[in-house]
């Protein structure tokens, strides 16, 4: 089995992220599986950026601790990360820029490769921004990959630039490749042999996948205010807006974001918004507005470590209970949390249907780890996913014309009222933020109030009957230990499981609210031993499950350093606790 991690580090502003992205893309195109994880501070220039790409001929789910090839574009990368490189690994650095005297070389057998990035740039009059292509060229040689695939990626990446820029970047890659070839010791075994059967895969981030799914689902309005880790969703959709006929609005603040989307949705357009915890806090009053006006909306809530500004470019699952309780008053809302890009695609499409079927807010809860990490996924899974756009009880003009009287908040058995949109003949109604009767008029009468509260609550019951999905159990049902988690923690857990298949199984929650209390309780009661794994300090899924079932979770693995959980940490915890 081939399983290689390449880590690239340097100052922000030198195209390190692009280097990692292209490397993952090239590996994917060559038939390998890839997973990317990056760490960077909330800065534009300076600071320390690292990106790592894990490449394997088997499915990879997450990053790992040990590094095979470390490419240092500055001294800090060397001294911070050299100890992560495993025995027999390679460190590439610029001897002319990084003085030997300052290096902290680890006590293991490593191969050091000297590539003079800076003098190559100077010698060939290349600009500093091309440094990353020298690095990529070097990596192409170390991995044994085909330089032509890199050249094709460079041509694509610079499609809008002139030929001279493309040529110079291709030259930079070639120079990096050749220099590394010369530097490598005799008998060096290339890391990535050519694969015979290349399965077409996408190399895509969570943000891009949610965007792609929203296009597929017929979303025609997306509004956002930039905020990590969801900004890239705004960027992706803004870049595709004209191609797919979507209007993408960068509004003046998050309050405007959600209210524009509610206006567009009220007027009949499938609408989505994206933000992170702080921005979502500003939207909360309007989540409640969506609840009482029964306006569909899909909300992408990308978590990052808080409170307040917190650690903007890092990851955490600290907002589950915040989202669950967001919005004053009582109304149903639906919470979904994808665990990987495949789930992000399917759940986003589902979210649009659920929002219109139940006429209430639907959340896609992500985090920096899922949304900003690229990973490979079979193209056929995405292309082959069959779905129907279900607009629920949205009336057509024909259906509306047949009604003798139209009542927007009609009391129905399932709690869902027929929905007309402004402009239709006979659609006259108001969507009212005040308590209201069936016709939408404000009413403070007790009996009217009770009926409308019960009508809205009923939607949650209908959801549990028709659309709720139980958590999925991964692995062997007979193992003595069950790990329980949600969202992106799926990645390191499945990675850990791929090595130790019989040690534990994993119960993955992606439908987080409303929960079927009886079914969940009886399922949880069948497990002999459980370990709750979450990327937060409060065991928020645990609290939620305790609230719903009364069951307590004794053993926990909680991480709240702003970093994702590593598969190694899970295995350590398991061997300690068994």
């Amino acid at each position: 089995m081939i399983d290689i991690t390449v880590k690239i580090g340097g100052e922000a502003g030198f195209g390190i992220m692009t280097t990692g992205l292209l490397l993952g893309k090239i590996a994917t195109r060559s038939g390998y599986h890839a997973f990317e994880y990056s760490e960077y501070p909330s800065l534009i220039r300076g600071g320390h950026n690292v990106i790592e790409v894990r490449i394997s001929d088997e499915k990879v789910y997450s990053q790992q601790k040990q590094v095979d090839i470390l490419l240092c574009l500055n001294l800090e990368t060397f001294n911070k990360h050299a100890s992560e490189v495993k025995e027999g690994g390679i460190i590439v650095y610029d001897t002319e820029k990084i003085p030997e005297s300052k290096l902290n070389k680890p006590d293991v057998n490593l191969t050091y490769v000297h590539v003079p990035f800076v003098s190559i740039l100077q010698e060939h009059k290349l600009s500093t921004v091309m440094l990353n292509n020298i690095a990529l060229g070097a990596l192409m040689h170390l991995l044994g990959a085909d330089l032509n695939i890199l050249n094709a990626a460079i041509v694509e990446n610079f499609a809008r630039k002139n030929q001279e820029i493309i040529d110079k970047n291709i030259l930079a890659a070639k120079l990096g490749y050749e220099k590394t070839q010369k530097e490598m010791p005799q008998g060096y075994k290339l890391k990535l042999p050519k694969l015979k059967n290349i399965i077409p895969r996408l190399y895509i981030s969570g943000n891009e996948m949610i965007g792609l799914a929203s296009i597929a689902a017929g979303c025609r309005f997306y509004a956002a205010y930039p905020m990590t880790p969801t900004s890239a969703l705004l960027h992706y959709l803004a870049s595709q807006a004209q191609n797919c006929g979507m209007v993408v609005k960068h509004a003046e603040d998050e309050i405007s974001v959600i209210n524009m989307a509610l206006g567009a949705s009220f007027a009949g357009v499938r609408s989505m918004i994206g933000t992170s915890g702080g921005g979502f806090a500003l939207m909360v009053e309007s989540v409640s507005l969506a609840g009482i006006t029964e306006t569909p909306i899909v909300i992408v809530m990308g978590q990052r470590p808080g409170p307040a500004t917190g650690m903007p470019t890092w990851t955490e699952q600290g907002d589950l209970l915040f989202v669950l309780h967001a919005g004053h008053g009582e109304f149903p809302k639906i919470l979904l949390a994808p665990g990987d890009v495949e789930e992000a695609y399917k759940l986003t499409i589902t979210a649009f249907n659920l929002a219109e079927i139940y006429q209430t807010p639907v959340f896609i809860i992500g985090d920096k780890y899922l949304q900003e990490s690229h990973q490979s996924v079979e193209k056929s899974i995405i292309e082959g996913y069959k779905f129907k756009i279900d607009r629920g009880k949205l009336l057509s003009q024909e259906e509306l014309s047949k009604l003798t009287e139209y009542k927007r908040y009609l009391i129905t058995k399932d709690g869902i009222s027929p929905r007309a949109i402004p402009g239709m003949k006979g659609s006259l109604h108001q969507a009212n933020s005040y308590a209201h009767g069936e016709d939408g008029h404000t009413s403070e009468e007790a009996d009217v109030r009770i009926k409308q509260v019960e009508k809205r609550n009923k939607k949650a019951q209908t959801f549990l009957m028709n659309d709720f999905q139980m958590p999925v159990l991964y692995g062997n049902r007979q193992t003595p230990l069950t790990l329980i988690s949600w969202g992106s923690v799926k990645a390191p857990i499945l990675q850990a499981m791929s090595k130790f298949k019989d040690k534990f199984n994993y119960l993955h929650f992606s439908y987080l609210w409303p929960l079927d209390k009886i079914k969940i309780k009886s399922l949880l009661s069948t497990f002999k031993k459980t370990l709750l794994v979450e990327n937060n300090s409060g065991a928020q899924l645990g609290q939620l499950l305790t609230m719903v079932t009364g069951l307590e979770f004794e053993k926990k693995l909680l991480k709240y350093s702003g970093r994702p959980i590593y598969p190694e940490e899970i295995l350590d915890k398991i061997s300690f606790s068994t």
Binding site: L212, A261, K379, P422
Partner: protein
């Protein structure tokens, strides 16, 4: 009719009493089609004049209530949601403008009118107001400017005169008032008008021009609060207002508009202060050049989007 209502005296110790709303027959052929329940406003409230003027304007413009979208804010003015019947969205306090922008983007064939108060629009929603003006979103914002908060029983509004004493400012308000006309003109609004609820004929004319205008339009309407503002009464305004005419003002001239916007104390202009052309937000989106967003097909060939990631 309005003058009759005005002469009904008011006692400042009585807060507005919410009466049980009852549906009423259309008042006259001028207001047919848009009538909802009879208002719960205080007798003599300036809102009555705006309410009548809106219904008259919509009938004059031959709007169909099914094909007119109104977004109401929260406040005494927003309570018009039950008295003026059209396809409407009753928003949160301060947030009516973004809702209206969303409706317009979704269906730019629909006329979209926003009915809000001064606290709602210039206080809680001030940020939205100036950005809507910048974007030249094709919506008409009708602001009820009475310099107080009525529904919360008489605190100062952002438009209150400096020194105005209220429940929340017993020593008098320290801040100078917001200048809605100057704010709108300076932030890119393409139609800015000022009216008075005591002059319904002019109001109808201003609202009609505002709604017909392609782009962001503001109609700021002085609307005396007979219960909580004893200073800025009908007579206070009548002593100060004058009409803008082609002789005394050119609404296409920014300098002249700016000058008129500064007349806020001794002489107060009524009429169209500013009226220029600039492409609207929706007209600037190639995606919307064919048909409204609402009518675009939902199914799309994903192949081109998927292939970007291969």
């Amino acid at each position: 009719m309005i003058s009759d209502l005005i002469t009904m005296n008011n006692n400042n110790s009585i807060p507005p009493t919410p009466a049980s709303p009852k549906p009423v027959a259309p008042v006259s052929e001028h207001t047919a089609g848009f009538s909802g329940y009879f208002p719960t406003w205080c007798p003599g409230c300036g809102n009555f004049g705006i309410w009548q003027a809106l219904k008259m304007t919509f009938n004059k413009m031959k709007f169909d209530p099914d094909r007119l979208s109104i977004v109401f804010g929260i406040g005494c003015s927003g309570n018009m949601n039950d008295f003026l019947w059209a396809n409407s969205f009753h928003a949160l306090h301060g947030r009516a403008i973004p809702n209206a922008i969303g409706i317009k983007i979704a269906n730019h064939d629909l006329p979209v009118v926003v009915i809000v108060g001064d606290g709602d629009c210039y206080g809680e929603g001030g940020n939205h107001f100036l950005h809507a003006a910048r974007g030249n979103h094709d919506i008409t914002v009708i602001v009820h400017d009475n310099r107080v908060y009525g529904l919360t029983t008489g605190q100062v509004a952002p438009t209150a005169s400096q020194g105005f004493k209220s429940k929340s400012t017993p020593q008098g308000i320290i801040e100078v008032p917001v200048n809605p006309i100057a704010l709108a003109v300076s932030q890119g609004a393409t139609f800015v008008a000022q009216g008075f609820s005591g002059d319904m004929n002019q109001l109808v004319e201003l609202i009609e021009k505002g709604v017909a205008h392609k782009g962001f339009s503001l109609v700021n309407i002085f609307q005396p609060c007979v219960t909580f503002n004893q200073i800025n009464s009908y007579n206070w305004y009548r002593d100060r207002i004058y009409k803008l005419t082609s002789e005394n003002h050119n609404p296409r001239d920014l300098n002249s508009a700016w000058q008129k916007s500064q007349e806020v104390t001794e002489k107060i202009p009524l009429g169209v202060v500013y009226d220029v052309d600039r492409p609207t937000y929706t007209d600037s989106l190639p995606q919307l050049s064919g048909k409204p967003l609402l009518d675009s097909a939902l199914n799309i060939d994903l192949a081109q989007f998927i292939n970007d990631f291969v």
